[in-house]
Symmetry: C2
DNA sequence: GTGTTAATGTTATTTAATTACAAGATAACA
DNA sequence: TGTTATCTTGTAATTAAATAACATTAACAC
């Protein structure tokens, strides 16, 4: 856990004066990093040694060490604020801003992804007879991607983006199956309908969606899609995509580990199946070099 | 530019004693960060003030400031090394490791993404009559995702994952169109064939692929897919996915900016078209609360 | 060889951070 | 309600760290 989170979490268990220091740092961590104890102390309205004591309370050995921890934490977080693109931006600026946003999104995921949900999802999927994935609209590509990643592990997996196919699949599923629904907002009527059908089939229902949504309420296991994070400006509807993809990545990786050697062998087999569709690297290079002069 | 790069670059222009300090820091930056001037000085075999002077030479006002800079630089770099998952990992460890890897991948992208290629791609796509996207296998989901993102901007866009459809589209394309090919390795024979067909149609060919591949050689504009980064261990075939997705994000964002108010209006229109498919947030909450007692 | 400049080390000073201690506040219990 | 114990905070003192000032040495030019 990074130092800013730690401070935030411990904030209420600190003494009054220490809490003042915590607030001062949380209010302007970037600035706090470049202050001396004396300055930070006076800003927080406490005595110098309080700052030292505060450092100890948040498990740093000294104030300079706290500064280093802050720097580490801020290196990731730096971009959370006001990284929305604007009209005059050059390509270079857009690149920087979007990469920053996406890194920040991952940082958010680090502190908000629930380990237990992941564990539960992996356990359910690991023992499933088949995994059925559903996603519409923007989530259709995600569903397809998840299917591509999971079937490689040797678990029968299908992905649907068609509402009628989803209905049939949901109705026909058994209690031995896992039904995986991707929906960023969790408010699409069509998807909620599918979830209700799936529940009637006694299937284990896992949703990657907004945890406050009606869809989430129907699920056995819910993992946050980061919808609450999404910037509402029309330019930036991308953050959740990265979050969901990383969640798939995490689940697939954990699943592969849970499956053990079997999955490993399966992955190798699937990988090698593509060998004959590829052009060889060395042969190609030689040809193109020789053909020029 | 981060402080480690700076030190590396300036290393040879420093005086003999300062160079010793530089070497000591570069050899073990993580440790150097936790040392006092005196210790670093003795390790480097120089006097204490040399360390202070060294800090000035690399544009830091003090040694503590250098430490902060080092912390910032290392925060990103830290995760590159040995973050591959292994058998005993808990869910929590997998989460941390995969997030670290993905953040590191974005960091890599920041320094390796070519601004000019992005600019060129945006310019070409901005003026295109239509955009045709092709991707097979793992790239099929990516292609679909890109289509979903680009058509919202008001540019006619289609995505294909079927080889025969791609052939027809490539053969039928005109010089006013953009043909976008996603292929991580750039060695899939089927995709190379499509690229050759597309070139014959005089279309502007943009590839997101390994820049050293045969596919890249055929393209008018190439953007790296990060294939060279991909961990060859079978557990981790995910990094490129994040990179490519972020590239799409960047291009779409830049494109939206380039289109100006027209794109903005279009985005709003498309967004509102979904309104009637969604369940209202407030209404739902009330219902579910009241229905319980 | 001597003067000049740049580079480094030694010593001194300043600054910053923490320890030690004392005073005050707060809570617990008689 | 008073008394004691504990916990919190500030003041003063100490220590440690970093830099400035100065001295020395080394390198080079003339």
């Amino acid at each position: 856990m990074n130092i800013l989170h730690l401070i935030k979490v411990q904030r209420d268990q600190l003494s009054k004066a220490e809490a003042k220091v915590a607030d001062e740092i949380l209010a302007a961590p970037e600035e706090a990093m470049n202050m001396a104890t004396a300055e930070l102390a006076s800003r927080a309205g406490v005595s110098d040694p309080m700052v030292s004591r505060f450092c100890r309370s948040v498990s740093c050995n000294s104030f300079p060490e706290l500064k280093v921890q802050l720097a580490k934490a801020l290196a990731h977080r730096a971009s959370f604020i006001s990284e929305a693109v604007s009209k005059g931006d050059t390509a270079h600026t857009v690149i920087e801003k979007r990469i920053n946003s996406n890194q920040a999104a991952l940082e958010y995921l680090r502190s908000h992804l629930d380990t237990q949900s992941i564990d539960a999802a992996v356990k359910a999927m690991s023992g499933a007879r088949q995994i059925i994935i559903a996603g519409m609209g923007g989530a259709a590509a995600i569903a397809k991607d998840a299917q591509h990643k999971l079937f490689r592990l040797g678990i029968p997996t299908v992905a649907y983006d068609d509402h009628l196919m989803m209905r049939m699949a949901a109705a026909g599923a058994s209690s031995k199956d896992c039904f995986l629904i991707f929906s960023v907002t969790g408010r699409t009527n069509a998807m909620i309908e599918i979830a209700e059908l799936a529940k009637q089939s006694q299937v284990t229902l896992i949703t990657i969606t907004n945890p406050d949504s009606p869809l989430a309420k129907l699920a056995d296991i819910t993992i946050t899609s980061g919808d609450e994070l999404e910037d509402t400006t029309i330019y930036v509807p991308m953050t959740t995509r990265i979050i969901i993809l990383t969640i798939i990545d995490i689940i697939a990786t954990a699943l592969a580990l849970a499956q053990g050697p079997a999955a490993e062998a399966q992955l190798t087999k699937v990988k090698h199946s593509l060998d004959t569709t590829k052009r060889k690297a060395s042969a190609e290079r030689k040809t193109s070099k020789n053909s020029k002069p």
